[in-house]
Symmetry: C2
Subunit: 337 residues, 2 copies
Amino acid sequence: MRLISHFALAFLAAFATLAIAQNDPLPSWNNGPAKQSIVQFVNDTTTLGSPKFVTKGERIATFDQDGTLWVEHPLYSFVMYALEQVPALVKAKPELGKVPPFSTALEVLKGDHAAMDKLTMKDLEIILAATYSNRTVEQFNTEVTKWIAQAKDPRWKRPYTELTYLPMQELLAYLRANGFKTFIVTGGGQDFVRTYSERVYGIPPEQVVGTAGVVKYGYAKDGKPYLFKEPKLLLNDDFTGKPEGIHLMIGRRPIMAVGNSAGDRQMLEYTHAGNGANLSMLVLHDDAKREYAYGPAQGLPPTKVGTFTQGLYDQAKKQGWTVISMKDDWRKIFAFD
Amino acid sequence: MRLISHFALAFLAAFATLAIAQNDPLPSWNNGPAKQSIVQFVNDTTTLGSPKFVTKGERIATFDQDGTLWVEHPLYSFVMYALEQVPALVKAKPELGKVPPFSTALEVLKGDHAAMDKLTMKDLEIILAATYSNRTVEQFNTEVTKWIAQAKDPRWKRPYTELTYLPMQELLAYLRANGFKTFIVTGGGQDFVRTYSERVYGIPPEQVVGTAGVVKYGYAKDGKPYLFKEPKLLLNDDFTGKPEGIHLMIGRRPIMAVGNSAGDRQMLEYTHAGNGANLSMLVLHDDAKREYAYGPAQGLPPTKVGTFTQGLYDQAKKQGWTVISMKDDWRKIFAFD
């Protein structure tokens, strides 16, 4: 009798553990403060009668992409795409290949990593403007779709689209299941990210806000209308451009925002300054083994990507944003782990 | 027996008619070619296995607002709002009241209808830029919300928000029930329309594309961040600006578009030029009794609003867009009729 009872209890305990695991919408998150603040926030904002209840339409959550939803190191994939278009550009206009920044880009592509450090932000902007424009919207979509299907990350030798963070995919799904509308708000090219956002994150193109150029309506010789990508910036969706872009494209203040670098600071501040319940979260890249550790908080020099400064970390602590430690808060980082 | 049978048949017939009426998603539409083309299009694009089937995410429908979803005559409400802000503007800067176009605006407000004709499009743009800017996004929202609650149309003496076309409200609901995502694409102020779009049309702010100014991120004295509306145009969402704005804000080509004036031409063309199934529709204001009849197609001179040209009508016929006659296709125009 006692034996049976013990056996039954053990069975029940095992069953209960399984049931909890199955009901856990965030299984790749360790049960630390970051996960707790997410679950608390979702419960608070979705429970009718809760003082922090938020109506469904106002449940807007915005996510930075590079370094927040997927790997950004050693180089943003939207910049990698631009660099890899330079040879075709130089083939069409050989004089470009003789002068920086295009000559420098060619050196980088030849494997000269030191050349990468020569490229300033201004240089990258010139290369981005030249490679993201002078074609129709359809041509660009076709080219990016082709590129992203074959391009591979240098470390994992996998397509960039497989290097999304599993805990973040779970978070996106969890929020949507609770009536949140999820948006990407990226410093990367809006048209670039929109080509794969639905397939990769379940986020449709109209819920991607990004850096956008001017497009111009015109007619082909056969009379068919088209939209042509001009080499002119319309919205630089980074730093102050993030809340500005959110207003332009979404029109209301998010109640939740997640970012990882200085370019996300204003979006996180703006979200946190809302009148009702809100949650601003900062991803800390502190896992040198499973991913990367970078930014001054880790004692490493700043890099071109994902500049996570001590000041940003201090602001997060001071204003009560939640810091996500990849090392401590994430049980698994990639689906293929 | 025969009597009972007749009675039963009559009962069944009455019941069937009632059932059809209840199942009709577009009861305010007469059973003419416009309604038929809508129902056919929705069936074609939503029936699995149909050669014209369109996946749910691609079912994007865009609607012009003024003259398409609600009354635009004698003056767009978003322009009326701007004119009514001029006295406060002149009070703050008295020198403005002494020169056109602000002095002209004051005459219009005093009831001088001839003065309205003096205002050119350029004048209206100057007035719009001055009255839609130099305040925070929140201040503007509060002011518009207050204005729209009390402003009344001169003919019907009702709030503008009650002057939406019932057949269009039914069409929006019908499309959404069939997995379409409905957007407003308006030449009017994006921030203006977003204050009431959800309440009035069931269209959330993030699904409103309109004429938009630059907003600038800054900090108040207490350190709180805010967005400030600058008197600088970012997107003129009219004519070629409509497909350009659709690309910027939505990122894919609509499969259905509805408009009523020359400013909608490029949106209708662009939608019609898509590769798959598509439906472009043009509302013809030909009901002088229940609403208005205007535009050269009615033998009336062009007006400041809703310029429906003969050329546009000819293009619709030539390209196979569907023309909606308010007189013939709409059984009822307003919910209060």
